[in-house]
């Protein structure tokens, strides 16, 4: 049935809505961040206004001591969730490249330079291309690696401790974090000043022994 364009566009948009789980996920994201922010601002305000009061100092110290722990508590899990979500989507590559130099040529708008990692897990993986992406809101390079018949995703972005919290550093001899998201193993580490996240999805073509 024909109706006015305005009515039709309105009706069309009434069907476009976030599902319940999507709303819950976004609300959870917002609540986590705003709680941290209110804690930070709360402690600052108290210090200014009633810095002489002992109990406020105690509260402020408590909040300040809690904040760094809380900020990075679930960050690795959130990184893994985001990486795996995009890994499973397998969005089209923006550039096909077999070497890191070709990749660098394409990712000229990043605020960092993609590098090769010395992580042993990458042995036997062949770079096939990449696309611009973001990780926790920070611009990132999403690289696709071929491992036999299997595809893996490697994220690289600048390591910002304020955003990502503390992540083990390869140069210090620390082992990468291993986090599972949606059944897929993700290794997260820092190397050469960059944060790396690598999926290690099982090879679906490999027969079980």
């Amino acid at each position: 049935m024909k109706q006015s364009l305005k009515q039709q566009v309105n009706q069309y948009f009434r069907q476009v809505e976030l599902s319940g789980p999507q709303l819950t996920e976004l609300e959870s994201l917002i609540n986590t961040q705003t709680e941290k922010e209110s804690q930070r601002r709360g402690s600052y305000g108290y210090k200014l206004v009633v810095s002489g009061m002992f109990f406020v100092v105690v509260v402020a110290l408590f909040m300040m001591s809690q904040f760094p722990w809380d900020a990075s508590k679930d960050m690795p899990q959130r990184i893994a969730e985001e990486v795996v979500k995009n890994h499973l989507k397998l969005k089209p590559l923006e550039v096909k490249a077999g070497t890191i130099n070709e990749i660098r040529g394409y990712f000229s708008k990043l605020e960092f330079m993609p590098v090769e990692s010395s992580m042993p897990s990458l042995n036997g993986m062949q770079l096939i291309g990449g696309r611009y992406c973001s990780l926790q809101g920070i611009t990132a390079a999403q690289l696709r690696m071929k491992q036999g018949q299997n595809l893996q995703t490697l994220y690289q972005t600048q390591y910002l401790p304020d955003v990502f919290g503390y992540i083990p550093q390869l140069e210090k001899g620390e082992s990468p974090l291993v986090v599972y998201a949606r059944g897929i193993k993700v290794k997260i580490w820092v190397e050469k000043g960059l944060l790396f996240a690598l999926t290690q999805a099982p090879d679906v073509n490999q027969s079980q022994e």
Partner: protein, 159 residues
């Protein structure tokens, strides 16, 4: 402004206006919210207008990498015989709109969204899109021609 469910739905619809794809719209919205929440606290950080701006900029950035974001040369002084009411008289079938929607330019989808869903005037839409009113009317004129050609829209109520 509190990001309650109503505002989230509005932002999602705007994201869908840009992407014309539900999954991409969700990704765009989620990443814009993350960006806004990672900014140092101020009053704009969680406002819907701010998040809209992030989404639009990010969408344009993505397009720059995938394909050119439509940058059409529209002559501000092109003859425009239709006024603000030119879209008001258009009638269309719902299935025609659904078929046509994804093929429209993102800017055309924004115009329709701001006009039909948000209820903005043409001047307000022009301000939002940072184009002159003449440019916007030229765009609407072409949009209307395209609707007529591809979806067989009709004009009503004009004696």
């Amino acid at each position: 402004m509190k990001l309650d469910r109503k505002n989230l739905q509005k932002l999602y619809r705007y994201a869908y206006t840009l992407t014309a794809d539900e999954d991409d719209a969700y990704d765009l919205l989620q990443s814009a919210i993350e960006t806004s929440l990672n900014k140092p606290a101020d009053r704009t950080a969680t406002s819907t207008a701010y998040i809209r701006t992030i989404m639009k900029n990010r969408y344009i950035d993505e397009y720059r990498h995938q394909q050119s974001f439509p940058q059409e040369n529209i002559d501000d002084h092109a003859p425009v015989s239709l006024g603000e009411s030119s879209l008001e008289n258009v009638v269309i079938a719902s299935h025609d709109l659904a078929l046509l929607w994804k093929t429209l330019e993102p800017l055309d989808r924004e115009v329709l969204f701001f006009w039909a869903v948000e209820g903005f005037s043409m001047q307000e839409i022009a301000d939002k899109l940072e184009v002159s009113r003449g440019t916007l009317l030229s765009r609407i004129h072409r949009l209307r021609r395209r609707l007529q050609a591809e979806a067989g829209v009709e004009q009503r109520g004009i004696a």
